[in-house]
Subunit: 657 residues, 2 copies
């Protein structure tokens, strides 16, 4: 068993604060959590912790964490905010709640060396979204196809092993600390595909769920369960799970009451219904508002929230049928239900209309449900972005999504009340398989809290906390990660067309892999051209789901941005992009350039030998070798496929097979 | 649990003989097996069994089975042959051995009604090949990917369940009877991919193997084990498995001696070495003759035989590398070793040079090893021919292979001393999934015994034994099965190109599924044409492995038979076939025709409702529905793929997507 990597909170990350005199006021469980952190840090590094009101003998504190009970502060700072004031080299962090103070504490950790020194400042930090959640697609019982963690690339589950909840959950506590340090405040602990064993977490498994919740509680992270919509039948022995049946409603109320009796701060439920084979309200002739409200009313008396996924589409589509468009599905199913959902329902919408591809336009559904609480769902686990064998920093993708000006008045971030990520951790010693994938977990939390942050600046925070402030290490890691998402995009599926991956596992290229399947994910490449016509004029009409200006922008072949061109239009290979290149030459150029960029990453990583921890270096080296192999495979397969189909040679005469 | 279908030996099949007066002479275990059969049949149907020399009171027998000890008979009839004489409505079957008499007994069963009546005849039957074997790819422990039976489409294993040998092996005895009735005389009882648990059959598992052998013994079927070449290391704790190391040789001698102590009539070993990840002599710098002789010398003192598979190729080929040709591999690895193998080694060669595709040319290796015992390996289990969901009678394929005049003087059958089939049975109530797939098991045995038999006549034997002699049933089953192999070929991969199947499972179409993989199975379709150039002039030179006239025939684009054209040549879509059609129009026409033929099969099967056993009818109906669905999918995907690539419309204007 390798030692567990400390991620971005090694002892050294707490050292700057640990060298100072720090005062902490207030009480309650979270204040004690902070006190424990400070006690350990000051003991290790020579500083001093002073609790409560200062006495004459106490030294003047460099940093003060204050719990305020002032009504003004409560109004100003809210449930999770904090104020940071630096004045004459004294730093004071004030919060009206333990949550806020805990966030303020980690803010100071991020400030690094001598946080109390520097210019005077007075600034208030509040999260952009109250709901910042990580969903775990972990199975209690390892699934014959999907394994212990569905779409997990970091070993087994932190929660489950050998078919049950782990006895020793101490690593969950470590994980909770990492999540709290970046502002995550909810987790769902089991897969949205709820199999038989997992469904029983809601009943027989409650004592085990309570043990998991106990690990998250010191860090004010609420635990959610993914539940099976058919539970009243499967677990309760009822004849129906019809959401309008009083017995079904009673069953869910009773079930919720039992959960809250064991876990008073339980977060609520997550539901994937009528999707990819999961049961749902359609089975009873009801709609998704009926379904979601059923569960919402069961948890409402206890302050619970139901996350109801909008990922509903026909997964048994006939590839011959060009009138059905999977991109339309979430909007078609949900937009008409706006206003019908209870207040404690959050409709959880994937960032794009299909499924976590490296590049998709943002889902138009975010603009279509003004009377509904929405959350944007991002995929931290790199299912379609290299599976934590490729170094891909997703912060820039998420920044673009969250800040995308979907309506003239609001960004996606402004239209949602929550950000949900599918977690990328497992019981791997590095947490995330590729050590650099830790940056995605970090950035997810930071961007969920404040989407306006510069993803490169967030990465810099992560680098300094994780590796220390060796500028050469910083330069190398930035050099590798800053553009890594675009590099990955460049050597995989071109121009937003998506899904040229091996079916099932979703790793590596297979240009036609999904072309004749029931999954609704096609590129329609023929000898003349490629792309999906989703226009109103001649295609599936998907562009009509967008508000202006996007409806017109995407509809227009001339105005459509290059990076999503093939998502919206079917064009000849000779079509000239806004970049000035033809589509086919863009495919060739981007794929050759992508592999060259990866080769540079490999060389850059090698330069870190001896400058970073050897196990991290070795794991990274192994991953970069695979990334280079895989990127080369992508390049050659994609280029060969399109050369064979188009017959158009590369203008630069490079090798295509 | 459904009742087990009796396959081609229902009570009714024995009734004609059971009504007669039958005399049986001789003794020994096999004569007792025949006596048991006759006693049961005559008891059920009113006939009479007379044992030994006739006494005055005995009635004159209609049929006599005689064990002859005459030296002339032994020389004439051999170890397994028998003579059938009909004279004045008395039928006499004479054999020099129990094996021969058992075969003669089933010959009379096949004669049907009143076998003693009809013209006078005197004919000797001897098997064309002494080795007629079925290989089972059964795993003791269900494999996480491949399941209980690798490439099995008929449920679980007859031998194993829940990780060990079944307690109740009575169904194995029933199976042995079926095999004996068609002349099979050897079985290998475990998968050629020998995993950890399976490797121990050779040691700890011997008592269980002996129990299985006891089920086969009354039917004179010898049991073989597939063994792991690395056993001396894995099981014996040696430091090497080098075939030239004396300790390794001793280990195998000891292992063989232990096996023969438990099972005196043990057949020998089957080995897949240096193939698809299995260990072999290459690991020690030795060649396949060294490896095979090592095992052969261990079993030689006991009369054992080693079947050594020639299925050796590079399964991590780079698809970019057009100089490597998997079709060449068996010949390249083995032809040079001719003369180096011990007498009790049989080199087992797949019928074609790749892997059991619906259509391949025969392997040129059969003509390249005149000083080596060879066996031809056929695939009874329908891995690439519809997986026992499609009705595909393979008798005509095997007939073509066995009778193929590979050299000016000899057919494939004439060049080999054995025929091996990969079994298609499992614990399915119908034995083979699709009830009509029983015909393949039947035909395998009959054609292994006598390759010159007309496959349609063999099918007729099977129909009458299985369904009785209702002429309408016979006409329908012939109508479905006679051409079914060609029908399957017509709607799948065209003109011998092969491998347009879904990777992994090998069911259903995926035209590019293997095109960019390491498996060496490519079609090289581009916008202009398709096929693999295997000529000496401009291709991989594979045609040069054939003796004349085939070398020249296959080399010549004009002379190459249509059905293997794309196996040997890369041609434009407009190339005109010997049939007069262009390649592209052939693709369209054959795929449309194939589905039409399946639709007729469905209708024909429906006409049997009420005329055959209801469970057989229902199972068949379910399979035919799937065949029609799947054939339609093949048609549409293949036609669409080639239309998109070639841009050439169907001359008949039918729907392509």
């Amino acid at each position: 068993m390798s030692p567990i990597h400390p991620a971005w909170l090694p002892q050294t990350a707490l050292a700057p604060l640990g060298r100072l005199v720090v005062r902490l006021t207030g009480d309650g469980a979270l204040v004690e959590t902070i006190a424990t952190e400070l006690r350990r840090a000051t003991a290790a590094h020579g500083g001093r912790l002073v609790r409560g009101t200062p006495r004459g003998a106490d030294p003047e504190p460099d940093v003060t964490f204050t719990s305020s009970t002032a009504a003004g502060d409560r109004a100003d700072l809210g449930a999770e905010g904090f104020r940071v004031v630096r004045h004459r080299e004294r730093l004071t962090v004030t919060a009206a709640t333990g949550d806020g103070l805990l966030q303020g504490f980690f803010h100071v950790v991020r400030l690094g060396h001598d946080p109390h020194r520097g210019e005077d400042v007075a600034v208030v930090h509040r999260p952009a979204h109250p709901l910042r959640m990580l969903d775990h697609w972990d199975n209690v019982e390892s699934h014959p196809v999907m394994g212990q963690v569905e779409r997990g690339y970091a070993g087994g589950s932190l929660f489950y092993a050998d078919g049950s909840v782990r006895e020793d959950l101490s690593r969950v506590g470590e994980y909770a600390r990492l999540l709290a340090s970046v502002g995550v405040n909810r987790v769902a602990i089991n897969n949205v595909n709820v199999h038989r064993t997992e469904s029983r977490l809601l009943t027989d498994g409650l004592p085990d769920v309570a043990r998991i919740a106990a690990q998250f509680r010191p860090w004010r992270i609420r635990v959610h369960l993914s539940v099976n919509f058919n539970s009243p039948v499967a677990l309760g022995g009822l004849a129906t799970s019809d959401p309008l049946a009083p017995a079904v409603q009673q069953w869910w109320r009773d079930a919720a009451a039992r959960v809250y009796q064991e876990i008073p701060d339980f977060g609520g439920f997550v539901v994937k219904a009528d999707s990819e084979g999961q049961p749902g309200p359609f089975g009873y002739g009801r709609d998704h508002a009926d379904g979601a409200n059923l569960l919402a009313r069961a948890v409402a008396p206890h302050g619970g929230v139901v996350f109801w996924r909008a990922f509903v589409y026909n997964h048994t589509q006939d590839w011959r049928d060009r009138s059905t468009d999977r991109a339309r599905a979430a909007y078609d199913h949900f937009a008409g239900l706006d206003g019908r959902f209870d207040d404690n329902v959050v409709v959880q919408v994937k960032n794009g209309p299909i499924d976590f591809q490296p590049r998709e336009p943002v889902s138009p559904l975010f603009a279509a449900m003004p009377r509904t609480s929405l959350a944007v769902e991002l995929q931290v686990t790199q299912e379609y972005t290299g599976q934590q064998r490729h170094a891909v920093y997703l912060g820039p993708q998420w920044g673009e999504v969250l800040q995308f000006p979907l309506t003239p008045r609001a960004s996606v971030s402004g239209l949602v009340s929550g950000v949900v990520g599918v977690s990328n951790v497992g019981d791997d010693p590095f947490w995330t398989g590729h050590p650099l994938a830790q940056a995605n977990l970090y950035a997810f939390g930071r961007l969920a809290w404040e989407p306006a942050l510069d993803p490169t600046a967030v990465l810099q925070e992560w680098i300094v906390l994780t590796f220390g402030d060796d500028p050469q290490v910083g330069a190398v890691v930035h050099g590798i990660l800053d553009e890594s998402w675009l590099v990955y995009e460049s050597y995989t599926a071109p121009l937003g067309v998506g899904f040229m991956v091996r079916p099932g596992g979703h790793y590596g290229p297979d240009v036609d892999g999904y072309e004749y399947t029931p999954w609704g994910t096609y590129h329609f490449a023929d000898r003349d051209g490629i792309g999906v016509d989703r226009t109103m004029a001649t295609g599936t009409g998907y562009t009509g789901q967008y508000p202006e200006p996007w409806r017109s922008t995407y509809e227009s072949l001339a105005d459509c941005p290059d990076e999503v061109l093939l998502f919206f239009h079917h064009v000849p290979y000779g079509h000239v992009l806004r970049s000035g290149k033809t589509v086919i030459q863009h495919i060739y150029d981007s794929h050759f350039a992508g592999v060259e960029a990866v080769a540079k990453m490999v060389a850059a990583w090698e330069s870190l030998s001896g400058r970073i921890d050897q196990p991290v270096f070795e794991r990274g080296r192994e991953r970069f070798a695979e990334q280079l192999r895989s990127a080369t495979e992508w390049r050659d397969q994609v280029n060969t496929y399109f050369f064979r189909k188009s017959g158009i040679p590369d203008s630069a005469g490079r090798t295509i097979f």
